[in-house]
Symmetry: C2
C-alpha cells in the first residue's frame, strides 16, 4: 500500500533533529528534501533545484526523525501492562512464557500480531528490532504484518533449547538450527522490502553452547544481524556464570560463538550490570546497547549507566521492551530514559550527569537509527524517516517556543494523538 509514491518530495515545517548527541537543531518552517528515499538536507528557503518535487506543507507542525525501537517483543504485546508485580525470572515463568506458548497457534498469532502491527504503525516508530517466538510460522506471520505497516524492521524467530518450559524448548541444537534456517529461507523467499530476519538467541540461560555455535555459523553464512539480552538482572548474571563457567563474563558467552558484534551488527538489550570487562568488549566489538528504561523499572532490574556508555562512545539507542516495558511509545521511552538517569544520578552515582532531553532524543533517533545504517537524522544522505506532529491537540494558554513544544510533545506523549504523517524510508505510511 505504500508503493504508489516516488519517495521524492519537499516537506515544510519546524524541523527538529540531533545531528550529534545533545545538540538539538531546530529549523523553523524550513524545508527538508527527500529524493528517492534519501534526505538531501534542510533548507531555510525553498530549494529551487528541487522545484519539480511534490511539496508537502506542514507549516507550524513539528517534523522529527522517525524513532528507532531497538528492542521490543511482539508476542508480549498482548499482555503489556499486566503481571507487573513480578521480578524478571518469575515474570518470565508466570507471565511471559505462558503467553508465548500461545503462538504455536497461527490463528492466535494472526489475531495478536494484527493488533501489534497496527499499534506499531500508529506509533512514532519507523524502525524496530523485534523478537518473535520460537514458532517459525507465527514469526513469518509477524514479518508479513510488519511489512504491511511500511515500517523498516528486523524480526527474529527466537532460538531456545534449555531451561524453558517444554512447549517453548526446541528439541535440540540441531533441530533448532534447522528451524532457524527454514525461517531465514522462508523470510527471504517472501521478498520483503522492509522486513528482514535477525538471529535471535533468547539469552544465554536458554541456549546451549551447541545452539550458540550453530547460530554463529548461520549468522555468518547469511550475513545477518543478531539481537539478544545481556546483564539485565543480578540473578540472571549469576545463573549465566554457573551455566557458562568458561565464559569470562556474560557477553563473552555470546562472543565465543560469533554472536557479539565484530563483523556483524549486534544489539544487546539492557546492559544494566555490565562489568568493566564486558563494557570494554561491547565497545571494542561495536555492539549496540538497547537501553530500556521502562523495563528497568517494571522488572525492578535497576538502571543502566547510560551516561557512562555515552562518555565512552558506545553505540546506544532506546528500546521500549514491551512487555517488560508497558508501552510501544518511543516518546515515553525518551522521557523514561531521562527520568531514570536523574534517579541514577541522585541515588547511585553523583558524577553521572542526568540525560538531557536532547541527549535522550538523540538516542531514540540517530543513536538507535545507526543500527540500520544512516537513519534517524535529516542530514544529507540519511534515509528519510519522519514523524509530523500537530501538537495543538494539547492546547496552550500562550504560544510556546518550538523548543518547548518539542519537549512537551514527548512528556505529554503526543505520539498517541498528534501524529499527522509518518514517513519511513521515504514512503508516507500514515
Amino acid at each position: 500500500m505504500y508503493f504508489n509514491l516516488s519517495r521524492s518530495f519537499v516537506i515544510k515545517g519546524h524541523i527538529c533533529h540531533t545531528p550529534e548527541a545533545g545538540r538539538l537543531e531546530i529549523r523553523e518552517n524550513a524545508f527538508a528534501v527527500c529524493e528517492e528515499g534519501i534526505c538531501r538536507g534542510i533548507f531555510d528557503e525553498f530549494p529551487e533545484r528541487f522545484r519539480n518535487l511534490e511539496m508537502i506543507d506542514c507549516s507550524g507542525e513539528l517534523i522529527l526523525p522517525g524513532m528507532t525501537d531497538l528492542h521490543i517483543h511482539a508476542p508480549q504485546f498482548a499482555y503489556r501492562g499486566t503481571g507487573m508485580d513480578y521480578e524478571l525470572l518469575d515474570w518470565l515463568d508466570q507471565v511471559a512464557f505462558p503467553e508465548e506458548s500461545r503462538y504455536a497457534d497461527t490463528a492466535y498469532a494472526e489475531a495478536a500480531y494484527r493488533i501489534f502491527a497496527r499499534k506499531m504503525k500508529q506509533s512514532a516508530t519507523t524502525r524496530a528490532v523485534i523478537f518473535g517466538t520460537i514458532h517459525t510460522e507465527s514469526t513469518l506471520i509477524l514479518m508479513n504484518k510488519m511489512e504491511e505497516t511500511g515500517l523498516v524492521s528486523f524480526v527474529g524467530k527466537v532460538s531456545m533449547d534449555r531451561n524453558s518450559p517444554p512447549e517453548l524448548t526446541e528439541q535440540n541444537a540441531r533441530e533448532a538450527a534447522k528451524e532457524e534456517r527454514r525461517f531465514i529461507t522462508e523470510s527471504i523467499k517472501a521478498g520483503y522490502r522492509r522486513t528482514k530476519p535477525v538471529v535471535t538467541p533468547r539469552f544465554v540461560p536458554s541456549c546451549t553452547q551447541e545452539l550458540m555455535a550453530e547460530l554463529g555459523k548461520i549468522r555468518r553464512e547469511y550475513g545477518l544481524p543478531v539481537q539478544s539480552h545481556l546483564s539485565e538482572n543480578p540473578g540472571e548474571i549469576e545463573l549465566v556464570a554457573e551455566l557458562e563457567p568458561e565464559a569470562a563474563f556474560y557477553g563473552d558467552a555470546y562472543d565465543r560463538y560469533g554472536l557479539f558484534g565484530r563483523d556483524g551488527n549486534t544489539v544487546m538489550a539492557h546492559c544494566v550490570y555490565s562489568s568493566p570487562e564486558e563494557i570494554q568488549r561491547i565497545k571494542a566489538n561495536g555492539v549496540w546497547v538497547a537501553h530500556c528504561p521502562s523495563s528497568n523499572m517494571n522488572i525492578a532490574s535497576g538502571i543502566a549507566p547510560v551516561r557512562r556508555y555515552l562518555e565512552q562512545g558506545i553505540r546506544i539507542g532506546l528500546g521500549t521492551d514491551v512487555a517488560g516495558g508497558t508501552s510501544e511509545s518511543m516518546f515515553r521511552a525518551v522521557t523514561d530514559a531521562i527520568q531514570v538517569s536523574k534517579l541514577y544520578w541522585r541515588l547511585v552515582d553523583r558524577t553521572a550527569k542526568p540525560l538531557t532531553f536532547p541527549e535522550s532524543f538523540y538516542l531514540a533517533t540517530k543513536g538507535g537509527g545507526a543500527f540500520f545504517g544512516k537513519a534517524g537524522s535529516f542530514e544529507e544522505g540519511y534515509a528519510f524517516d519522519a514523524v509530523v506532529l500537530d501538537d495543538s491537540v494539547e492546547p496552550s494558554a500562550r504560544p510556546l517556543p518550538v523548543r518547548d513544544r518539542l519537549e512537551r510533545a514527548f512528556y505529554l506523549q503526543l505520539d498517541r494523538q498528534g501524529i499527522t504523517m509518518k514517513i519511513a524510508d521515504g514512503q508516507i505510511i500514515i
Copy 2:
C-alpha cells in the same frame, strides 16, 4: 450543570476497589448503589429495595472509585513537560516563577485555568487539592472553573513573603494575611458546593515566621485545611535549617505555627527526605503525605520511602504535582509510584518491598480520598465517586481476566481515552 440529578442510582459493571491497602476487591457485573450521593454498598444481585432508583447499566466495563490528586499546581499546568532538564531550585527560578507571575493578569488566568479545568474534568480525578498563585482574583477564577467541572476540590491562594522574585513576593506578613482573609471571604461568599479554600504557605523558604503565625491563626479561625511542601530535596532542607534554626526539623517549622495537622487536616507534598523525628511528628499529628513519584523523578529529588510510611500507618496518598509531574493523569501516578518503589527497593533499601498494584491503587483512591473524609471506596457510607472505563479502546487478542484488565488500564493510561462516565460526590459529571 450537574445539579439536575437526584444523586441516586444503581450502577452495574465490574466494580473494583481496595477497602484496605493491598486488598483489591473485584465484583464482576455487580451493582453499586448511590443514594443521595452516598454509597450503599455493592451487591451481587440487583438489590430490590433500591428498585425505584435509576439503573445505569455499564455491564462489562470497569467501575473504579474516583481518584484523589493530593497535590497539583494549577498555574504550572500551562508549561508541563517543558524545562525538565532543571533541578528543583533552578527550575523554580527559570520556569515555575516566571510562569506564575503571568497570573497577575486575570485574562491570562481565565484562559489558562479554562484549559486546566477542562483537563481535570476529563481525567479520572474526582477530588483534588490544588495550588493557585499569590493572586487572589486569579485564584478565585480558578475556584470558579473548578466548581464548574463538578470535581470536589480544595484550592489555595499561595502565601509567600520572602526569597521569591519581587512580583511573587507579598509586601509583608500583615498584607499577605489580609489578602488571604479576603480570598477566603470571597470564596466562601461565592457559595461553591464543591470547591473550598485551603491555607497554602508555599513552603518554609518563602514564608516568614510572621506570615506562618498569621496563617496559623487564619486556619484556626476558619477551620480550614492546610497544604504545603516538605523535605523534597536535600538543598531545600539545608536552606530551611539555615532560615529556621529554632525549628527542630523542617516540618517543625510548620508545626510551631499550627500548620501541621493536629486539630486540622494538613497535606504535605513529597516527604522524600523526612528524618525519623519528622516522620514521627507526621504520624503523631495525622498529617497526610502526598507522594508525587513523577515529580520525584523529573526534579531529580530522589524517591520517597512509601513502604515505610505504609508500614508505620502514616496517612498517605498520591499527587501528580503538575508541573514537577508532567501529567494530570492519576493512572500514570499509580504506575509511577510502583515503578519508583521498585527502584527504591533495588537501589536504596532491599528491605523495602516494592509497592504492588493493589497498594498503589489504594493510595490513589481510599488513601488520598481520606483527606476529604469517607471517599475513594465503594464501602457503605462513602461518598459516591466513580470512574467508568471502557478498556476495549485498547483491543486484546484474547479475553483478559478483569484483574488484568484493571492493571492494564492503568499501565496503558486508559484514563486518556477510555472514560465513559465520571461521578463525583454522587453527581454524574461526564
